[in-house]
């Protein structure tokens, strides 16, 4: 791992001296997926030091939440991980519901699961597309967006928005889905299944793609756990940790699905975990559609201005990027006393400073892309 870090010492012994070069990767760079800056010290094409610099998108949602009611905070959560906003809504609602002692009706829970899984597919599709671009294949990106667009249509049908849904509310969900929506959703799933096989043909098992990603950016399991990674980044290293199984919420224990695990923790393993998760999400979506029994979607008696008892609650969900947690403190007032977001992207990005060293400039992009960060969530 630290092969590159030793390079400067070796240089001093050789008569041929070479200077290292400092490169700013970002904040304006096509592959940093937002406003991330990585200061790279390179020797030829070899990275000797990497310093990720974040904070360009910091909007202070934790502070904003302290002067907003609980219903309003759900709107704020949409803006963290804007690629998959449903789990963000969900995690805040779970934490607030724990504080208030609300119980969500079963149909509401099923809808939450349904939306989160659809959003996971949408998010992983975006990853699939942009990772293809990072590696140099442009076409998978548009194929992925073609499919993602359909999911966004589904979200638009049900919640009215395509990116910032504000759909999952305290005590349930905003509105019920219609039969037409369920039919459309099934239509999409039927359409989407064969597309996944095509993605495998096009990118996953492409020899060039495999060569670029297979032995690059290896994260051993102990390192991954020590760095606090989560989501597909952790599971790519073979650590079986998924909040949906480890700490089930919304009745995930009733669904039959598997946790795809990687073997070596390479970029390809992380990528493949996500592609496999899409298949698992398809399974969950189909089960959730079958589970949809008529009933209310919103718990009765959700106050317009909720004032929970003083207390502390922690809730976490398996978002598209990993273990998304919220630590919520109430002092009995109408707004949270303290809201702390444990953002998976923030943790997944931190490992870059160790992971990038010793790799080539091309691999920086491959590794950065494979961690699948969203800067909105990193900076909050």
């Amino acid at each position: 791992m630290n092969k590159g870090a030793m390079a400067p010492d070796q240089e001093q012994d050789t008569p041929l001296k070479s200077d290292s070069m400092f490169i700013n990767l970002g904040p304006q760079h096509p592959s940093t997926h937002g406003v991330l800056r990585v200061g790279l010290t390179i020797d030829g094409e070899m990275i000797t030091k990497a310093v990720p610099d974040v904070g360009y998108l910091h909007r202070g949602t934790s502070k904003l939440a302290e002067v907003r009611g609980y219903h309003h905070c759900v709107v704020l959560t949409d803006r963290w991980d804007y690629v998959s906003a449903m789990p963000n809504n969900l995690v805040f609602c779970l934490a607030a519901e724990r504080l208030m002692g609300l119980n969500v009706p079963p149909r509401g829970d099923v809808l939450r699961v349904l939306m989160c899984e659809l959003n996971r597919i949408a998010s992983h599709l975006l990853f699939f597309g942009t990772y293809g671009i990072d590696i140099g294949a442009f076409t998978p990106f548009l194929y992925a967006f073609r499919e993602r667009e359909m999911i966004l249509d589904l979200f638009e049908m049900v919640s009215g928005a395509r990116l910032t849904y504000n759909y999952i509310r305290l005590g349930g969900v905003m509105v019920d889905v219609t039969d037409e929506w369920v039919a459309k959703c099934r239509e999409f799933i039927e359409y989407f299944k064969p597309r996944l096989d095509e993605y495998d043909t096009l990118l996953t098992y492409n020899p060039i793609f495999m060569a670029r990603t297979e032995k690059v950016g290896l994260i051993p399991p102990q390192t991954a756990v020590n760095w606090g990674l989560s989501g597909p980044n952790l599971r790519g290293s073979g650590v079986n940790y998924d909040v949906r199984k480890a700490d089930p919420y919304c009745g995930y224990e009733q669904y039959d699905f598997e946790i795809p695990l990687g073997k070596t923790g390479s970029c390809w393993d992380r990528y493949f975990c996500r592609v496999s998760e899409m298949r698992q999400s398809v399974r969950i979506v189909l089960q959730a559609l079958d589970k949809l029994a008529p009933g209310p979607v919103m718990a009765p008696g959700v106050a317009k201005v909720p004032k929970p008892q003083p207390g502390e609650a922690y809730a976490h969900v398996e978002g598209a990027r990993g273990d998304l947690g919220i630590f919520l403190v109430s002092d009995g007032q109408a707004s949270p006393y303290r809201m702390h977001v444990k953002a998976p992207s923030f943790m997944n990005l931190a490992i870059l400073q160790e992971l990038l060293v010793g790799n080539k400039v091309s691999d920086v992009i491959a590794i950065l892309g494979s961690t699948d960060i969203v800067l909105g969530e990193v900076d909050r």
Partner: protein, 189 residues
Amino acid sequence: MTQDELYSKLAAELPHLEKAQTQVKDYLTMRLPSADRLLETVRALKERLGFDYLEMVSATDWLGPVKPEGYIRNPNPIVFMAEGATPQSIPTATPNFPYRPMIELVWMLANIPEKIRLVLKLEVPREDAAVPSLCGLFKAADWQEREIYDLMGVAFTGHPNLTKILTPEFLQGHPLRKDYVHVKDRFDE
């Protein structure tokens, strides 16, 4: 492992941990009496009890509700709005709530194979708040501690690179402290 089993185990192995008054809902919450034994405790938890996954580092400032003065940076330039739009709801102090000039640090540790989590709490005074860094034990603490330092102003002694991470260089103060007042900077005009 259930929470009760974990509690009895903790009582046997680390007797100086006490059950916290405010439990984080659904998770076992233990309180450390002082910062001195933090490293020792966490090392024991990591090595002997298998809590090798640091899930969250957080902190709460218990000074009291936010002061709205200085909360909004700019007066609203829009003609129809009241000058300097107010926050959505101005929090007031809850009567009989134990507000105190302390910062409470919260660590959440997880044992992945056992599927159990443990919350550690530690109170430090607001002035010159400092606790030992967990960076030596968990790399995951690196950025999370920087975040807490940046936003809450808790110095983590022994951290290799304790610098601001989220807020810009010129921003003065620690925004998540309840008495934070914005100081005008070059972007305010």
